[in-house]
Every structure is written in structure tokens, then in C-alpha cells.
């Protein structure tokens, strides 16, 4: 339990630029997934119809996906978060292997190892989808066997990314504080101490009870 003085205190977890990048990217990806479902599933396709328009929406929101990610680079906070996501420390590997990873015995920074992995896999998958989608859409770019290969890659990677997104959203729904931080940018200090102790210490110093104990 954290001491009473920390009750009600909040930390800024995500500034406005980071939230904007997340929101825009999420909206575009949602459009991509919804239109993909229509293009891909026969029953929905026949129900919705308008194949040409649906395809155009899918393709162009797909091409727009990297735009918020690149615009984000103008923000120092965003670049800082990218750096943190990129860095895997030894305790991150332990965290991924550990069964009781959430009991607090492993130090966790601003992002836990699962979040880092999710970010890397999502970014890689989006890159692959962009490349294969480009080859599929601009048919003169590559020979036929590559285009078939691109369709193959696009189908399976899209399925994998879809599952990753479902997992991401499920974790978010299970944690109201985390969900709220994507909207307001703020998290309770107590939540930060529990989920991201190293980061909480970095911003707010060590918890008071520990400071007391060390005296």
C-alpha cells in the first residue's frame, strides 16, 4: 500500500502529441481493419457491397498509416517514448519469461516488456503490410509471382496484426487507469507505483515509506 500522502497525486504519462499520434493511428487502423473484414469475408462483402469504394477507403487509409507516426517525430516526448520502447534490458527478458511478472519483484520502466514487444511487432507488421499492399495495388511494380506472394504475406500478417490489436485492446479494457491515460494523458501515482515502479520513481522519487525505512 502506498502512503496516504500519495493518494490523489497524478503523473503525466502521455503528452498531447503522443496522444494525438496514438488516436490518429488507432482511427486509421480501425478503418483498415473494418474495410479489410468487408473485403475479405464473403458474407459481409455481399451484404455491404460497393467493393470498389470499400477497396479505395482501405488502400488510402492504409497508405496514411505512417503519416501520424512520422509527424510524431517532431515531438521530443514521442521520440523519447520511442527510445524507451526500443530498449530491452535484461529484466525485460526475465519479465517475459516470468509467470509472476506482475507481482512487483521485477523492475518495470515506463513500458513493460510486453508493451515493448507489442510496439515492435505492430510497427514491423504495419511496415510489411504497407510494402505488400503497395505491390498488390500498383500492379505494374512487380512480376506476377511476387504479387501472389505479396497477397499471401498481406493476408497472414493482417490476420496476425488483427489478433495483436485484439489483445492490445483487451489489456486496455481490463485496466481503466491505463485506458484513461490514453485520453487524458494522466495516471494516478499509485497506479504507476504498482505497474511501472522504475518510471514512477524517476518522476516522483522513491515512495515515502521506503525513504523512511532507509533512514
Amino acid at each position: 500500500m502506498s502512503p496516504p500522502t500519495e493518494r490523489g497525486r497524478e503523473l503525466l504519462r502521455f503528452g498531447r502529441p503522443v496522444r494525438w499520434v496514438h488516436g490518429t493511428f488507432a482511427a486509421l487502423l480501425t478503418i483498415c481493419i473494418a474495410t479489410a473484414a468487408i473485403l475479405y469475408n464473403g458474407s459481409i462483402a455481399v451484404l455491404v457491397g460497393d467493393r470498389y469504394i470499400v477497396e479505395q477507403i482501405h488502400v488510402w487509409s492504409g497508405f496514411a498509416l505512417p503519416v501520424p507516426l512520422l509527424l510524431g517525430l517532431f515531438s521530443r516526448d514521442y521520440r523519447n517514448d520511442l527510445g524507451r520502447l526500443n530498449r530491452f534490458a535484461r529484466h525485460d527478458w526475465q519479465w517475459l519469461r516470468s509467470r509472476d511478472r506482475r507481482d512487483g519483484h521485477l523492475p518495470v520502466g515506463k513500458f513493460n516488456a510486453g508493451q515493448k514487444l507489442n510496439a515492435a511487432l505492430s510497427a514491423g507488421a504495419v511496415g510489411v503490410l504497407l510494402a505488400s499492399g503497395t505491390i498488390m495495388y500498383f500492379t505494374h511494380l512487380a512480376r506476377l509471382s511476387w504479387r501472389s506472394g505479396a497477397t499471401f504475406v498481406h493476408d497472414w500478417v493482417a490476420l496476425a496484426l488483427g489478433l495483436l490489436v485484439v489483445g492490445h485492446v483487451m489489456y486496455a479494457l481490463r485496466d481503466p487507469d491505463s485506458l484513461r491515460s490514453m485520453r487524458t494523458g494522466r495516471v494516478p501515482l499509485r497506479w504507476a507505483r504498482r505497474e511501472h515502479d522504475e518510471w514512477a520513481t524517476e518522476l516522483a522519487g522513491a515512495p515515502e515509506d521506503q525513504v523512511d525505512a532507509s533512514r
Binding site: Y40, S148, D155
Partner: protein, 229 residues
Amino acid sequence: MGRRVVLGLLGLGGLGIVFGSKIQDGMERVLGPLELRDPTGLLGLLPIGDTFRFYSVTRSVPIRDPADYRLQVSGLVAKPATYTFADLQAMPQTEVVRDFQCVTGWRVPQVHWRGVRLSDLLDRAGPTSTATALRLTSFDGTYTESLTLDQARLPDVLVALEMLGGPVSHNHGGPVRLYVAPMYGYKSLKWLSGIELTPEVVPGFWEHRGYSINGWVGASNGRDDEPTH
């Protein structure tokens, strides 16, 4: 580390693009036949290939059953006519077992089709000397296609009443659709409701969007697929 995961995925993606069609072929040979016979339809949710993907170009297509189905033959003909489903059923039926090749790459091998030869319908209507082409329309209100008179008279061009051993389902373009065996799937118009003889070729829905008017499998649309057999 995160960067290495991203680059690794991109590398794998590149390999997949170069060699994916070979992997896909292998999977299709094993899983394709299973998927066509899968009673749960769950395999259909996976991108396996060698199976039909359903396309519709317009908003919700009205469902017609054989009882209220009509096929109109009109335009430059001596005898315009309207056929009911029963009329078509009463005509000589032709069976064809051929591959169905989509211009986007998927191919369903050895599909069983049954229906009336388009040439039989043309013989009954008697095209006038100025007619050179057909404009085919769909009761979805949007989808149109074209064939030259010579193409339409080929023996493997059917007005199909059955496919895959049963009635043509709504999603497949039933109750009656076209099957143009030697051409890409978009030429096989779904939900067929009108055949109009015209003085020249009127490009159809997909042809306005860049697809070849003469959609021979393997010799159009910049593709080199093996002809359907």
C-alpha cells in the same frame, strides 16, 4: 532491440513476397480441397486460397428466388424475349467442369457448372446484322459486363443455373449467373438479369476501372496465368 524486431519482420515479409506464391501453392493443394468441403465454414475464415472469395460491387443485392427470377433478352434481336427460371430449366442443359480464375490471383480448380449455352439463347433471339456485341446486366443494378458476339457464341460460355453440384447460391450470384470459362472471373457476371444486343462493345463495370475488355485468362490484364482447363 525493438528496432531489430521491426527489421526482422520486414526481412521476413520480403522473403514472403518473393517465395510466398510457392508456399501458398503448397497450402492450397493440402487445405483447398478440405476447405471446399468444410461443413463448419471455419477454414473459410483463414486466407488459404483455392476457394471462392465473394465480390459484390453494389449495396445489398436483392435476393431473387427462382420463382420471381426473369431474364430479359433485348436490343438488336429479331425476337426479344423474357425467360423465367423454369423456361431456362426446360432448355437443353450443358455441363462444364473448369477452373475459375480471378484476376486478383485466386483460382478454384475444377468447378462443376451446369446451365444453358449462351449461344442457344442467341440462336432463339436471332441477332440482327448490325449486332456485334452483348451488354450483360445484373439485377444488383450496378454490375455490367460485355462480350463480343463471337465470344458469346463459344461453347463454354453458359447461363449457369447450377454450380458446385447445386443451385447457384445468392452469394455466388444466383439464382442465375454467367460463366465465361476461358476468361477471368469478373467476366462471369453475377445475378444475371439482362442480355442486350448492341451495335458495338459497351465496356462493363470493371472495364471502366482498368480491367481488360477481352479478359482471356493468361492473355490479358498483364497476367500470365495458365489458361483454365
